[in-house]
Symmetry: C2
Subunit: 168 residues, 2 copies
DNA sequence: TCCAAACCCTTGGATGTCCTAGTATATTGC
DNA sequence: GCAATATACTAGGACATCCAAGGGTTTGGA
């Protein structure tokens, strides 16, 4: 989009932190800010790749999750837990996916409180195509060295475990 | 919020990718998904720490940026470039900060197109307090090991440079 | 048995991000 | 000098996320 900046703004921020007497937390501040910016860049790439399918990342994630479920269906609360987003975000995504004919809501057979989300044939097909494009256009050219990918998986895995995401 | 999941959902996704014949991109997919989730966790912590100040992270970042500017003022387009967000996002943040009396818009002395954002005394004080809290409550207990922090800075720095953020 | 507590999903509201367009001001080039 | 192009900011709209609250369904203990 924009021309590259002459200097790394996050490295500058780190120097500012040090200069103002917060040297002991300047590095974690910089790491966290870098994660924020990296997420923003990656999300933009992903959304760009999904746009031709009329999907956003949030909706794609839900489709992909369903496509890996044995029956192609999951309770909404389970989807919320696995995607680690607020239940209302799932409601929102399902509303739009349903309107697009990619999923259907159906009542849970034994628990009246629960709603199942089910992939339609069209939804399953679209998920497959979108995954192929994401894989070839985004994930296969992530811009991370192979060694670094494994480092990231390990470091962020430790972090997420520490944050209480999973106990494994 | 929620109880920890029994297993890491991202590791599961990685296995699903491999099982479906996308083994060559399963690792980058997992790393990218982990970045997304980590960002979400960190953002929630930061927003929580800033809430008592009536600030969001977006608004805090702008205040912090201004507080490091020599004159305590910056053109909006410069802020947009340094924070690496869309100009309309800066407009939005400035609207709210101005309404809260933390910054003021003023015309650029020589360029009629440009608007300067300037910290008020109150804004400068609040930025200082908020920074202190963020440092002690979030950055100093990031949950990353020191070694990992440096790894992250290096890996994500390489990535951002490769993505065209800066040329340095 | 029966009511309170727990759980599930949805609605409505606040924010943030981006995109597209529109208005105003500068710069460029002929 | 003036028209065409580039820049800067803002208005309006689409989406996503979270929180708070409300209504229906289950569960569990008195």
């Amino acid at each position: 989009m924009n021309a590259p900046l002459p200097r790394d703004p996050i490295a500058d921020a780190q120097r500012n932190w040090e200069r103002h007497g917060w040297g002991d937390v300047a590095a974690p501040m910089a790491a966290i800010t870098a994660i924020m910016r990296t997420q923003q860049i990656l999300l933009a790439r992903i959304e760009g790749a999904l746009k031709p399918f009329g999907l956003t990342f949030a909706r794609y994630e839900l489709l992909a999750l369903l496509s890996f479920a044995r029956s192609g269906a999951l309770p909404m609360n389970k989807a919320s837990a696995l995607l680690q987003v607020h239940p209302t975000s799932v409601t929102n995504a399902v509303d739009r996916l349903e309107k697009a004919g990619l999923v259907v809501r159906s009542p849970h057979p034994t628990d009246g409180r629960t709603t199942l989300i089910e992939l339609t044939a069209e939804g399953r097909t679209l998920a497959k195509s979108a995954t192929a494009v994401l894989n070839t256009e985004v994930f296969s050219q992530s811009g991370f060295a192979d060694r670094d990918v494994n480092q990231l998986i390990r470091i962020l895995g430790d972090f997420r475990r520490g944050a209480g995401d999973f106990s494994e």
